[in-house]
């Protein structure tokens, strides 16, 4: 297993499948009376969050605690970070405290790469700027596989602000590794200029793609993009690229609707779609904990899962 998880592209097919399989076993354990495993007892996991992201932080925190790790939450607010301490100094502090893993969320693309130079522990990227969010891609893949039974050959559409989306980058890389076929759908302004270098298809036309897809993943679109002229108005964006009930009806019977959250209901996704039976949005959150448990478990070199389980059940 890799030492750091910074990009979904770092994962080989075998690594990715091992994480998904391990998450599957850990998810089953969540239904047992004793949910906690002793695997990471005595190990320290630091959640280093430079951006507000309650949902991701709580997900990592729950994952680490269920593995019995000591968890330290280090957020930009109320810490020395707010006083202008550099990332490097923070890293050295964490190093001195003996962090075995640092989960980092940062507004600057590449911050986890820098951090990995300065700490000995494992670095897990929990979202960096407009770069990547690999555990989100893993939990998305896990959700797709749970719902649809496979990833190989699956047709996945990712719709919206691809240019600024760390979720899209990680999903394209991971789904490609796992044999799915990804199509990005967005106005041309919200696609990277060199998107043709990515291992996926690209379309500007949502409606023509809908009947051909197994999974549609809607990305959050931020109103401030309008001010930078990425699209004329939120209403026009919603008309052309939003998923409403009519469009959902154009999807194949089995197709699922995903969203990494937080949603702008009524913008990229209609409320009725978000709350429909096809939506996996709540499942994604639950699966997030299992995936993050698997990542921490495998990266921090936990013992064989089988022995752990019997111990936990005892």
């Amino acid at each position: 297993m890799i030492r750091h998880l910074i990009s979904a592209g770092d994962l080989s097919r075998d690594d990715a499948l091992l994480i998904l399989d391990t998450a599957g076993e850990l998810a089953q354990m969540a239904d047992r009376p004793i949910r906690k495993l002793p695997t990471l007892r005595g190990r320290t996991v630091v959640n280093l969050f430079y951006e507000d992201s309650t949902r991701t932080r709580i997900s990592f925190e729950a994952a680490a605690k269920r593995l019995s790790a000591d968890v330290i939450n280090f957020s930009a607010k109320g810490s020395s970070v707010a006083k202008g301490e550099s990332l490097k100094d923070t890293a050295l502090t964490l190093e001195a405290m003996g962090a075995d893993a640092v989960v980092i969320r940062h507004g600057a693309s590449g911050a986890p790469h820098r951090l990995a130079h300065w700490v000995r522990g494992s670095v897990v990227n929990a979202g960096d700027g407009t770069h990547e969010h690999p555990t989100q891609a893993l939990l998305d893949a896990f959700t797709m596989r749970s719902r649809l039974g496979r990833l190989e050959g699956l047709r996945v559409m990712i719709v919206g602000d691809v240019l600024h989306s760390r979720v899209a980058r990680s999903n394209v890389l991971l789904l490609h590794t796992l044999g799915a076929e990804v199509t990005l759908v967005a106005p041309p302004t919200l696609l990277p200029v060199a998107v043709s270098s990515w291992p996926c298809e690209v379309s500007y036309d949502l409606d023509s793609e809908l009947p051909k897809t197994d999974v549609i993943m809607m990305l959050r679109v931020q109103a401030e993009r309008m001010n930078a002229a990425y699209f004329p108005t939120v209403r026009e964006y919603s008309r052309r690229y939003g998923l409403d009930g009519d469009r959902m009806a154009m999807l194949p019977e089995h197709a699922i609707v995903m969203h990494p959250g937080p949603m702008n209901r009524g913008v990229e996704i209609a409320a009725g779609v978000a709350d429909s039976a096809r939506s996996t949005i709540v499942e994604q959150v639950a699966n997030g904990v299992s995936i993050r448990m698997a990542v921490l478990y495998l990266m921090l070199g936990g013992a064989e899962l089988g022995t752990e389980r019997s111990e936990a059940v005892r």
Binding site: L87, A108, G110, R114, D128, T130, E132
Partner: protein
Amino acid sequence: MTTGNGVHDGDGSGLAGGWLIRGARPLGGPQADLLLRDGVITAVGDGLSDTGAQVLDATGLIALPGLVDLHAHLREPGREDAETVLTGTAAAALGGFTAVHAMANTDPVADTAGVVEQIWRLGRRAGYCDVRPVGAVTAGLAGGQLAELGAMADSAARVRVFSDDGRCVSDAVLMRRALEYVKAFDGVIAQHAQEPRLTDGAQVNEGVISARLGLAGWPAVAEEAIIARDCLLAAHVDSALHVCHVSTAGSVEIIRWAKAKGWRVTAEVTPHHLLLTDELAVNYDPVYKVNPPLRTAADVAALREGLADGTIDCVATDHAPHPLEDKETEWQAAAFGMTGLETALRVVHTAMVETGMLDWAGVADRMSVRPAAIGRLDASGALQGSGAPVHGAALAVGSPANLVLYDPAAMDPVDPSQHASRSRNSPFAGLLLPGRVQATFLRGVPTVLEGKLAR
């Protein structure tokens, strides 16, 4: 010819008899001896008699006219933690330079006669090479109104090159006026070509790498659009435009076109843009963060072609020292810029000479003769008779004794910790590069001997 008991000890030239450089290869050609006396080259030929001169065995070394840098950031006044005129000119001398142009983005900005004279005096005191201050085009580099260009031109510093470098003079009317105004004293506007709206928050070249890294893209068109506009403006008012740090293949094309029209357009390229590509950003190490950004291999190839065929007139370092804390950060927070004075000639050796695209005469032309002419430092330039020093002259009898002796056979990894620059942000750190500057002479006085500062 004077003999060894001259009166020139006082100028620091060491022995009164000057220097006899034995067996150097001027411009990489046949071996010759050079006799330097009274600040000028007094004899060139085979088997010159030393007649009291100190002898320097230069067998195997290439002799080039002292290099001239049109573009360096010496940081003084204001950011003496990054560089001073003293450390910056020491770095320049070690790189083979005898003249450097000091960019105007100091603090305070070099936008008045007082500040440019201060920088000029600091250069004279340092003594490692001639410092030619560049004046700001607009007051405070703010892009609002013209700085007092005439006052800077008339000052003791005799400013002829004006630039808002670091920022683009993006207002078309202001650029037009600046180009027109400096015609009165044969000045040149050196433009930092960067359309600001197209590069808001930009971090790396827009393309495959920016898409992958999720860093805001810096499109080539942001540079090319300004260059095209400015070429047309320069043509319209018949003035002299110099394009700083050209970095894209498209820019080379536009400049080639403007030159074919006979317009007064010159251009420079940095050593780093001749050797490095945007792929170096993949680990987000800000030592590779620079403005304009590193581009693609295709751009590098076009820049080399452009420098070889003369479309790009010269190499300029854009030496941009930064303290460690401004580079040991996440990419977005880091400062733009790379040091370059101490590695420029070695990088050009690698990119242009080893590839067969330039011979040593070509290197002398692109790193001394032409930049001296653009900076109005050549013997026929506007500054002649003003007391300003002459640079870029041929290694011939009667020329000022500004020259560099370069060992092309050396081969060493770049070690920034050994640099005289106060900063360590060299993108070439650890890279095995050919060549070594063995000696630099400024008007007959060695500033560098045996690869070390001579004083």
